[in-house]
Amino acid sequence: MSAHAPSVADRAAPAHEILPVATTAATNAALWRMLTRRRWLFAGTVAVLLAGSVAGLATPALLGALVNVVAEGGETSDLVRYALLLLGAGVLSAGLGYLGQTLLARICEGALADLREDVLASALDLPLEQVERAGVGDVVARVSGDVDAVSEAISGVLPAVTSAAFTIVLTLVGLGALDWRFALAAIAAAPLQVVSLRWFLRRSGPVYREVRVAEAQRTEQVIETVAGATTVTTLGHGDRHETLVARSSLRAIDLSLTGIGLLTRFYNRLNVAELIGLGAVLAVGFWLVSGDAVTVGAATAAALYFHRLFGPIGTVLGEFDEIQKAGAGLARLVGVTTATATAGTAEGDALSAEGDRISAGGDENPAQGDRPGPAATSRGTRSAVALRGVTFAYTPGRDVVTEVDLDVAEGEHVALVGASGAGKTSVAKLAMGIHRPTRGAVRVLGEAPGRRRRAMNDSPGRRHGAAMVSQEVHVFSGTLAEDLRLAAPDASDAELTAALDAVEAHWAHDLPDGLATVVGAGGLDLSPDRAQQLALARIVLLDPAVVVLDEATAEVGTDGAAALDRAARAALSGRTAVVIAHRLSQARTADRVVVMEAGRIVESGTHDALCEAGGRYAQLWAAWERGAGDRRG
């Protein structure tokens, strides 16, 4: 269908159309908002973590004091006192550590949950047109891949880094408290650490990015091969795909070994920094003890303090990269939320302008015009769906719908017939407000279509608004009831069963767990005709006034097709319907048939009238009849 071609074009050149990525400032602002929402919890957590680190620092100090007792020939009772203090400080530090970690998790995980929920809600609110341009893949990557990356950092790395950072700062303070010259000696390691980190980040960034890309490609290749395994073997391409997987895998290994090479050299440098720092602290200790400025115990404590820093410093420096990665993911997530905000306002403006246009020209001058193939309503007085002089192009200059006038009366069923690329699906999307016309105006139930659907969201009153059954069939994973309740969240089990019965989905009674049966990805695989019945049952539950049905049922037997036609009739009865006919049997039962060619309406009338007229539709019907005759007998 031509309607889908632009999305492919956009995916081929995604740089122009992918969803926005938030700026650093916007990302920081979003982070700040999340934190301030929990400011008291945040303050409490900081206090607890600080106290925990202080308690932790008591350990080397007490060990130092204990050494002093020995060096100065003290009493055993002193030793016992220090040992008990050591125990107390350790238990306190462990307890505070526990509290701090759980509090921190409440902040981080809570903020993360808020964020991912906001992102999904925003992604679902994006105008479909924008999603089609960006590609569903981009949105999926953000709600899954980026959320995962940020979660990993927030739940795995952030707590570790936070407590490590506290330990480092407080240890330096502790060293300074022993003697300011110890702190100075410890800082001797810092220049090399900073230089090494910069060296590492400069080189590791690109390499790690490449590793991630290569690993993603390998995963994609494995997915493709495994998911398409049947096709691969049928085509006899098994060896070819094995080689493809092997090649992508070896490339990823190659790159990751390069990355590890960098990482090990980085840690080698950090080790040298540790050596310099430790050597400096010991030398300063020697010097100070020689000058009787500090006790042997203090020198011991200083050395032990510094030795304790090895782990935390490694954590902070080593995870720097993870944090940067999470930052990139976060920017992409915040980008989705900002995309909705801007799209929302832009759309609102466009809709009100459109509304003005149609009330200025449209209603007073109902286009019963003198165009060829008048497509005015065949019955009824009020039109439920009205397209007036509608032209639409995905790319300027290449109209896919040209000057279309179409009125569908309340309760009327209109079938759209035509070849792929004739503009049927585009007309349906225009009627649903998914696309906005380049010229002309569209009205559904007297209002601009997008607005009507939004209003329906706000007040779940029935018998309003328009709904579309798209060509794409999707069974949402979860229980059958959960799937159906997407259309009617408050429906009772009895209503759900009634809706299924209305579309002849009697198989639902035989499911192992009834409405609680898990269907979709990871559950029971429904056959295409059953999935289609489910889509129709959702319409029955939603109970909209206008339905656009773009149902192309694949792989159903003869019996299946007839059952689906009956189900569709049941779901559409009493509603206004625009049916994109994929089988001419669907056109035959419609009140009116509208034939499209190259974006224009070329014929319009009842099935019988068009057959008699001997035009385009009559030819199509004759071909269909000849084939159908073989089986109908």
Partner: protein
Amino acid sequence: MVHQVAEALVPVLIGVVVDRAIMPRDGAALGLWLGVLAAVFLVLTMAWRIGMRSTVRAFSFAAHDLRQLTVARVLDQRGMAHRRAAGETLTIASSDTNRVAGIAWLVTGQLGALAAIGTTAVSLLLVSVPLGVAVLVATPVMLLVMHRLSVPLEARSEAEQETAARAGGLATDLVTGLRVLKGLGAEQAASDRYRRASRGSLAAALRAVRSRAAYQAVSEVLSVVFLAVVALFAGRMALAGQITVGELVAVVGLAQFVQEPMSRTGFLGVELAQKRASARRLLRLLGEPTVHSSAARPVHTGAAGATPSGGSMTVAGTFGGSALGPVTVRRGQVVGIVLPDAGDAAALVDVLGCRAPAPPGAVVVDGTDLSTLDPATGRTLVFAARHDASLFSTTVRDNLAPDGPLDPRALDASGTTEVLGHLPDGLDTHLTGRGQYLSGGQRQRLVLGRALHRPEPVLVLHDPTTAVDTVTEARIAAGLRDLPDRALLLVTTSPTLLAVCDHVVVAVSGAAGGTGLDGSSDADVELVAS
């Protein structure tokens, strides 16, 4: 291991420096021992570097080999007796292979921990026998306690990962069905549903963090008890003059250091259990019996093969619940088979495509019984792809005909030419995500185009036009009619396609039916009842 030994020596050296240099205020000794410290650091850092690199190498290549084995098994021509969902196979091919290969990390990590504990114990033994013995006794006790604690911890973090994966899967699923949701205006309901899943995931994550933090806290308390006891006894010994001050420093330094390796060793049991579970899944997949019994394989290999005069196939037998009398399709003919039940049709096509074993005598190609051929040979005679065949993420050209030139007639007949007009780079368009961003109709025509490029003399098409509109279907039907030099079997219920067949056979399930058939002028129609 060397690295961990060296790490354990650092606190010892701190003690030595205190003892030999700081206490006696000996500048030369300071220089000497700082030099030794530098040497230990050099060994430590180089050992770590070598160990890290070789571990990564071992891990990566082990994972690679396991992955290739898995992929090779999945792609085996003989198929799998028990077909797994793609998601399950994928988990095995990606996560389980990695996890099993992770044994490389486990071995080096645990050996390192043991080395660290060993070095600590030896160092302490050298300082004082009772202290060394204390470490050797305390270690197994600690291990036992930590192992006990780590088991429920593992269960919690598994539950956490599971709920997180479920929430993530739901998000992906909802966005994938975005068009459907938009059609219903069900954005709010969908987002509410996700919110509930996300809150569940949050609760599980918090539970897991609490367990982890508790484990850490307990481990800290245990080690501080150990530290306090060791410090007290070593202090008394130092006061009594049994050990020097520097030795005391080394002892407390070691007691602090040994905590981390001990808690790491506590996880050994859980890690091993995880890896065993992954290894079991992997083995089950690799050992899965094949669909085709190996007895039927070797009979005709080589004897059969595409011959220029070949291209005739006769099908007879029961497929699913439908019975089919002898139907023959010859080179240059188009024959239609109608199976009213969609499942039966799929079963027939699977047999013709050698994905399911053919009943003996049911399918005869050029005089050879398909059931006597191994699947690889059978597939050189008949091409029968599934209705839902996949496309691959490469260029359109590579999808259509990766090995040979493109045939303009096949492109036209399949309606591919039309599709190409809508693609940004025509034949060179790269299909991302296995073409899932194409419309159903575009995908179906590319799949048909690919089938028409196949060299096999007998071509079986299963409902090839369900996703295209009636006008395009009519065009494709006409194109198929005019395909030269092929035996073409259409398994379909589409009237438009059946209208162009030379011969249509309808299978009726159950008792003999009496449905009469009046075919189009040039079709010779028969009814075959079971």
